[in-house]
């Protein structure tokens, strides 16, 4: 849920021409199999190859502008369906799939039981980034010492809570209407109501209190997303004990808030609250704060984002019971040791935010009608997002993308998975390489990553028998970062010295969330360090941090003999 959100600002007209050289298509292999991001060596290619000079080739099979479905592979006559594709859930995943489906000429419907945009637009990425933008500016303005170093004086920066909340809310509404309009404009039918699968290729939907409608579709994608997970024993009252859904409305700024969970949701909220003047206490079940990050980045992040701020923490503990504030008493949190389960401490705070992860929203989907059983709520799928039933067989024509399948709970992963599914149903096999999907945490400074962490890479290296190389650069060496007086930061590259393959990149620093894409693109396209280090970066920009990183890697393999991707253009 924390990523650069998929934003559509309105595609003009409904006659979306299917262009053979559209940049929306990626490079394809002559064997009609597109594996995004796997090394070319897997296909016997030595480096990037193109059959023609720079122009992208695509496979000509399987694309049709016709509304009716193409012939089934098993030879049975095509039934007539109401739609080629029905998507249950109009969140980011569903929206991404819908847009791509229309581009491929599929007649598409999307069912939404609540608000278009789902979590990301209404209760996630969008409002949280609005709040983080405010907190970033607030932090800068209040950092007298930072301002003074630049020669600036700012007197008493303050904020109006309602104004901040309105900014987040208005943004969510705006993006929601953009999404709705973009789908309407493309001719996607937006069906309102809760969608349920009643049988193979058949869905019913309807609003509560109204009769249900039944629609049929050749393929169905489940994209129902997730909701904040609240562990047992925690009583949420929406005012003093809240989840991210409530927090993003910013109805109040407590003096002291306890945040249960120190993953990126908890971390981002600590950034917002401390910038607005609150004090924060983290409650983390594992022994390390920020367990999901590369440990070196996590340590640096702790030094910069936690230690100097008005934040303390308790690790290795569970919050077994949280009682909302009432009768003049504060919120009471009872902590037990995570391993021994012995009572450890009791906290008294003004507010508690539950950020212990998200649970899939799959109840009432009617999965039992197609013999599918969820695992801890998640819909089981294979690497192609195809749903698997209780017997381990693939359910034909049924896919599940996004948070509901639990593979990678990020907005852009959901839409990438959606696009992958649409590719498959329009005749081109596609397997999404999740290692090429970046993730970001929008604290100040930002944290971003793609690929493996150092421990994961070393584990893989030991199993497969290769060496791991690690290169690091500091933002202190970057002119632009120093000009902004934001030299605090680190970029880390984990790679294979024998082949030049990038295994993972982690960045902590100004604009890390934007900078990571050079690395994620490289991983997706299989670009190797010895080739990418010749790419030129504008000076002075923050991207030179990555340039330094690539240049400092010690790769033993030679640069690819085919040179850069496109032919040199004389300027």
């Amino acid at each position: 849920m924390h990523s650069i959100c998929f934003q559509a600002t309105g595609v003009p007209g409904s006659n979306y021409i299917f262009d053979s050289c559209s940049p929306a298509l990626a490079i394809s292999k002559p064997i009609n199999l597109r594996f995004c991001g796997l090394r070319k060596e897997a296909f016997g290619f030595s480096g990037l190859t193109h059959s023609s000079s720079g122009r992208v080739r695509f496979s000509s099979r399987g694309h049709s502008k016709k509304v009716s479905a193409s012939a089934e592979s098993n030879g049975s006559p095509p039934k007539s369906f109401d739609y080629d594709l029905i998507i249950i859930g109009a969140g980011v995943g569903g929206h991404g799939a819908a847009l791509h489906a229309v581009e491929k000429g599929l007649k598409t419907a999307i069912i939404e039981g609540d608000v278009v945009g789902g979590t990301c637009v209404n209760r996630g990425c969008v409002p949280s980034k609005a709040l983080l933008a405010v907190s970033g500016k607030m932090r800068e303005l209040q950092s007298e010492h930072h301002m003074k170093a630049l020669g600036l004086q700012v007197s008493a920066a303050g904020y109006d809570r309602q104004g901040v909340a309105d900014h987040a809310n208005n943004l969510a509404l705006k993006i929601r209407s953009n999404l709705t309009n973009s789908m309407k404009a493309l001719g996607v039918d937006i069906l309102t109501g809760v969608g349920t699968i009643v049988g193979p290729q058949k869905v019913k939907y309807g609003k509560v209190g109204f009769p249900d409608n039944i629609v049929t579709a050749k393929n169905i994608i489940i994209a129902t997303g997730s909701v904040p997970f609240v562990p047992k024993g925690i009583e949420v009252d929406g005012k003093t004990v809240i989840t991210s859904d409530h927090a993003l409305k910013l109805e109040s700024v407590p003096d002291w808030i306890a945040i249960v969970g120190s993953g990126y949701i908890g971390l981002e909220f600590s950034d917002v609250y401390t910038a607005l003047g609150s004090e924060v206490t983290f409650i983390e079940a594992l022994d390390q704060l920020m367990p999901g990050f590369d440990p070196e980045i996590g340590k640096l992040a702790q030094r910069v984002l936690i230690n100097p701020r008005k934040i303390d923490y308790h690790t290795g503990v569970f919050a077994t019971k949280i009682t909302p504030a009432k009768d003049g008493k504060p919120v009471i949190i009872e902590l037990i040791d995570a391993k021994t389960k012995e009572p450890k401490d009791t906290l008294e705070v003004d507010s508690a935010l539950i950020a212990t992860g998200r649970a899939p929203f799959t109840n009432g989907l009617g999965l039992e009608n197609v013999n599918v059983v969820t695992q801890r709520g998640f819909v089981p799928v294979d690497e192609r997002m195809r749903v698997i039933d209780t017997n381990g067989n693939l359910v034909p024509h049924l896919y599940c993308i996004g948070d509901a399948n639990g593979k990678m709970m990020l907005a852009h992963a959901a839409s990438a998975q959606g696009i992958s599914v649409v590719e498959q149903v329009t005749g081109r096999d596609h397997v999404l390489n999740h290692l090429s999907i970046p993730a970001a945490c929008f604290t100040h400074p930002e944290i971003s990553m793609v690929g493996l962490t150092e421990p994961q890479a070393r584990e893989k290296a030991q199993k497969e028998g290769f060496e791991v190389g690690v290169a690091k650069t500091s933002f202190k060496a970057n002119t632009k970062a120093l000009a902004e007086n934001e030299g605090e930061g680190l970029a880390k590259l984990i790679y294979r010295p024998d082949s030049g393959e990038i295994l993972g990149v982690h960045i902590f620093g100004l604009h890390a969330a934007d900078l990571i894409h050079e690395a994620s693109n490289a991983i997706a396209l299989g670009t190797r360090i010895q080739d990418i280090k010749f790419a030129v970066h504008a000076h002075p920009t923050l991207s030179e941090v990555l340039d330094e990183l690539f240049k400092s890697a010690k790769v033993k393999a030679a640069a690819s003999s085919h040179g850069p991707v496109s032919e040199p253009v004389a300027v």
Binding site: Y159, W256, K329, D350
Partner: protein, 430 residues
């Protein structure tokens, strides 16, 4: 906490390389400290066992503060740990650990059974101490025992302001800034007047004046000067005839010898004969005799003052000393002095003669026994015992010393020796 740069006044511990109980040998990296430029590995100069860590990872401490205690033998570890606990003050509450647990369990009960007391009461006896995260950080930083602070925040919790009041600090400006929110919180108006009350005790600024805050170096100097107020000092002056020294200077000047080097060497040689003047009083109850004679010489660099140290000044010959001095001055100007090179002084020399100053009193730097202030050498009319006049170059030397260890007679004797060396300077060139 080592000073990793000349501008550093406090440092942050990045990580402890060694843990409590580890055996350390001289030269091993013990801890990683963050300076304003980079993270540096800090080595130990002594063998021993890391008995206790006083400042933990992520915490800050001022330069010179103890960050860890090294025990020479295993037996001393317990003693070292106790020392560490007493230094950090707040961490080990006097009440045994089981006490807070039943107290916590008891707290939900009393509010129900006693209807009378209002909710935001001041912390009462058996009640668990609740302190906000920032309050805890401040308590550790300012060595305030958090258990002894009375909480005035909501529900009786200890707020950062309570800690600041306990530590005797004026409330930080931050509170005033955030109180300027459009939405009125009940606590905010109360905080604002309290915060503004503190600065009003200072005299109003003279119109037309500008306020320039201290740089790190200036703050360090100011801190040292204020610290010196706690040392009982006295001053002894002595007129030294420098004709012979001046003649020698003319001779050795072309070889790169400076007056500073000559005076430093003379002082060092005198100190060799009067070790008590080279000692210092570190704890108020003992003499710390230094085995080396390291003469720190005060140098003014733009905007600041630094004292590069000529180590073993008595052992090096004049030419070597001058060369070293030149290197040190260059490094000082480039702000590249290593901590060893400016905080290892055992005696300080300060010379304002180049301005024409005839005599002045220097302030004793903390950690040293004496400082010598040297004026200009001026031709002076002197009368001898027989009533004959002559003109001699006289330089007024004034030494400030710590009377806990150096007594009047010691200092006078030292000055007499110094004067003899300066008046017979052939020994300087040996």
């Amino acid at each position: 906490m080592p000073a990793l740069s000349s501008t550093m006044i406090e440092g942050k511990i990045v990580s402890w390389v060694k843990s409590e109980g580890d055996v350390l040998s001289k030269g091993e990296s013990v801890v990683v400290v963050e300076s304003d430029k980079a993270d540096m590995d800090v080595e130990t100069f002594y063998d021993g066992i890391l008995a206790a860590i006083v400042v933990g990872e992520g915490e800050t401490a001022p330069v010179g503060a103890a960050i860890g205690i090294l025990a020479e033998t295993e037996d001393e570890i317990a003693e070292a740990k106790a020392k560490a606990a007493s230094k950090s003050g707040a961490s080990t509450p006097s009440a045994p650990p089981p006490a807070p647990a039943p107290a916590a369990a008891a707290t939900p009960a009393p509010p129900k059974s006693t209807p009378a007391p209002a909710a935001p009461t001041v912390a009462e006896g058996p009640r668990k101490t609740v302190a906000t995260p920032y309050a805890k950080k401040l308590a550790k930083q300012h060595k305030v025992d958090i258990e002894s602070v009375v909480g005035t925040g909501p529900y009786g919790r200890i707020t950062p302001e309570d800690i600041e009041a306990a530590a005797g600090l004026s409330p930080s400006k931050k509170n005033v800034g955030l109180a300027v929110v459009v939405e009125t919180k009940p606590a905010a108006p109360a905080k604002a007047p309290a915060a503004s009350a503190a600065p009003s005790s200072l005299p109003p600024p003279v119109p037309g004046s500008t306020v320039v805050p201290f740089t790190a170096m200036q703050a360090a100097v100011s801190k040292n000067m204020v610290e010196s107020l706690s040392v009982p000092t006295f001053r002894v002056g002595y007129p030294v005839t420098t004709d012979a020294l001046d003649a020698l200077y003319e001779k050795v000047k072309p070889k790169g010898v400076t007056m500073t080097a000559l005076l430093a060497k003379a002082a060092a040689m005198a100190l060799a004969q009067h070790p008590v003047v080279n000692s210092s009083c570190k704890d108020g109850k003992s003499f710390t005799y230094n085995s080396n004679i390291n003469i720190a010489v005060a140098v003014a660099i733009n905007g600041g003052l630094i004292t590069p140290v000529l180590q073993d000044a008595d052992k090096l010959d004049l030419y070597l000393l001058s060369q070293k001095w030149k290197e040190l001055v260059e490094k000082a100007r480039a702000k590249q002095l290593q901590p060893q090179e400016y905080n290892s002084g055992t005696f300080t020399l300060s010379n304002l003669g180049m301005f024409g100053v005839d005599r002045f009193d220097a302030i004793l730097p903390p950690g040293q026994g004496a400082i010598m202030a040297v004026g200009a050498s001026k031709p002076t009319v002197v009368a001898d015992a027989d009533g004959f006049f002559s003109v001699k170059n006289k330089m007024l030397v004034n030494v400030t010393a710590d009377h806990r260890i150096i007594y009047g007679a010691d200092l006078a004797a030292f000055l007499q020796t110094f004067s003899k060396i300066v008046e017979n300077p052939e020994s300087l060139t040996l």
